[in-house]
């Protein structure tokens, strides 16, 4: 079980104050940029830039490491396994039967690993600095139907609740003699049925109560919506958006119109 369920860290930096829509756009544009770049050096520069932004967002080290854990595993896997499956190019460093380790293959593996690293860390700019509430609000502002937004908000609200429900059911079943850590893979997974069935039933009861609560508050009675907090684009938001757009457009033009190798 993991310690946190929300990557958001409370702070007052320029990234926290920025309009969440700009941050969503930044994540998408920088992801496209990572796909566009094919040189190891430029990808490393991009990765450094993203880490600079997460540093400026005052992300704590433990949270970053927690988030990076799964990505690092994939990156190591790529770096180790890519050369074994890619025998093309010269010079050949070592060969054993059909397996050849070549220098270009190692570089390609590193490039791909750094690109995956960029694609993964760029999300932290958004997730470390935007509360879930703001995120849903921004998605609704961007054109998501508000009833879908409400569904999303409900699920984000109940996510930590259900995690603690699952934890306490696990404890209760353990107290009755269930052993989660014993047996082979399938046996071990099957033990979870005795945790999941009560968890699902309790969630379905919650859903029934929630539906009554929504109905009693006249959900869907009016077709127009008002918002408690309005999000507005300010001057700095437009400036940030144009900077990020420039970061994508300049390399794009350089690569495809002036054929600069990037």
């Amino acid at each position: 079980m993991t310690g946190f369920v929300d990557l958001y860290t409370e702070a007052d930096t320029f990234l926290h104050r920025m309009d969440p829509r700009v941050k969503i756009a930044a994540v998408l544009l920088l992801s496209i940029l990572a796909f566009l770049l094919s040189s190891l050096y430029y990808l490393l520069v991009l990765l450094a830039f993203i880490f600079l932004l997460t540093y400026l967002a005052k992300a704590t080290m433990s949270r970053t490491m927690f988030a990076l854990k799964f990505v690092l595993r994939l990156m190591v896997l790529i770096i180790v396994l890519w050369p074994l499956f890619d025998p093309s190019g010269t010079p050949v460093l070592a060969s054993l039967g059909p397996v050849k380790i070549t220098v270009p293959a190692i570089v390609r593996g590193l490039t791909s690993a750094v690109r995956v690293g960029c694609l993964a860390t760029v999300w932290y700019i958004l997730m470390f600095t935007t509360s879930q509430r703001d995120l849903v609000r921004a998605l609704v502002k961007l054109g998501l139907r508000f009833d879908f937004g409400l569904t999303l908000a409900i699920s984000l609200r109940f996510f930590p609740t259900f995690i603690s429900t699952i934890d306490s059911i696990t404890d209760a079943q353990r107290a009755r003699g269930m052993e989660l850590g014993r047996g082979r893979l399938f046996k071990r997974s099957k033990n979870y049925v005795s945790v999941l069935v009560p968890a699902i039933v309790s969630a379905l009861r919650t859903a029934d109560t929630l539906a009554l609560a929504l109905q009693s508050r006249a959900y869907g009675a009016r077709s127009d919506r008002t918002f408690l907090t309005e999000i507005k684009m300010r001057g700095t938001d437009y400036a940030a958006l144009s900077v990020v757009l420039g970061l994508l457009v300049v390399p794009l033009v350089a690569k495809y119109f002036f054929s600069v190798p990037l």
Binding site: M1, V5, L7, V27, A67, K69, F70, V71, R73, L74, L77, I78, L81, W82, F85, G109, S112, R115, V116, L119, A120, V122, W123, Y124, M127, F148, T151, L152, A153, I154, S155, L156, R157, F158, F162, I163, T165, R188, S189, K190, Y192, V193, L196, V197, A199, I200, V201, A203, L204, A207, D208, L210, A211, L214, Y219, G220, A221, R222, S223, D224
Partner: protein, 186 residues
């Protein structure tokens, strides 16, 4: 359970605005949350790939088999993608959305034909699982470009995960409809 219901139109306005019924909003919201929570809370260490796998798939199959393809697609896709984002692997979220969404959709469509007979459930889980494994494999190979080695390694892990998840999902669907009879009636 009806999937959608139109609200009373505002007087003076001719345009009818459609709302999803509160029952559906509540059910889909909780199922999505539960999918994300189970994905995060049930880590089973898995030796061959030195990784972990989770029982999130069981919940996707359960949603699809018990509530139909729409719930399977929405709750499976969005719940698993949200778990990815919250766990810090947001770059996987778009592929997860497609992979788990199609998994829930196909298992719901196929698994509920013929009133959910055993062979239909097995076929649905197999077809849904194949969708998920293929989507992940192709998106890792073609879009993320991780190379054959990691893509194959992940595919093996995914096949094991989907087999275990499918079995547990079918068991869940069976047991929950017994212990929560409101679910059993269509």
């Amino acid at each position: 359970m009806e999937p959608a219901q139109s609200a009373t139109p505002k007087p003076g306005k001719t345009k009818r605005v459609k709302f999803v019924s509160p029952k559906t909003v509540a059910l889909y919201g909780t199922l999505t949350a539960l999918t994300a929570a189970i994905t995060m809370a049930t880590f089973v260490p898995f030796a061959p790939t030195k990784g972990y796998f989770n029982l999130g798939d069981a919940m996707v199959f359960f949603s699809g088999l018990s509530f139909g393809w729409r719930a399977g697609a929405i709750c499976g896709g969005i719940g698993s993608a949200a778990a990815d984002i919250l766990l810090g692997s947001g770059y996987f979220a778009p592929y997860t959305l497609v992979a788990k969404g199609s998994e829930g959709l196909v298992s719901g469509l196929v698994g509920r034909t013929n009133k959910g007979k055993k062979w239909a459930v097995v076929l649905g889980i197999a077809a849904g699982g194949a969708c998920m494994v293929l989507t992940y494999f192709l998106s890792e190979l073609l879009i993320l470009n991780v190379g054959w080695g990691p893509a194959l390694t992940e595919a093996v892990g995914n096949i094991v995960q989907v087999t275990v998840g499918g079995t547990i999902g079918a068991l869940l669907s069976h047991y929950v409809s017994k212990s929560y009879p409101a679910l059993a009636k269509p």
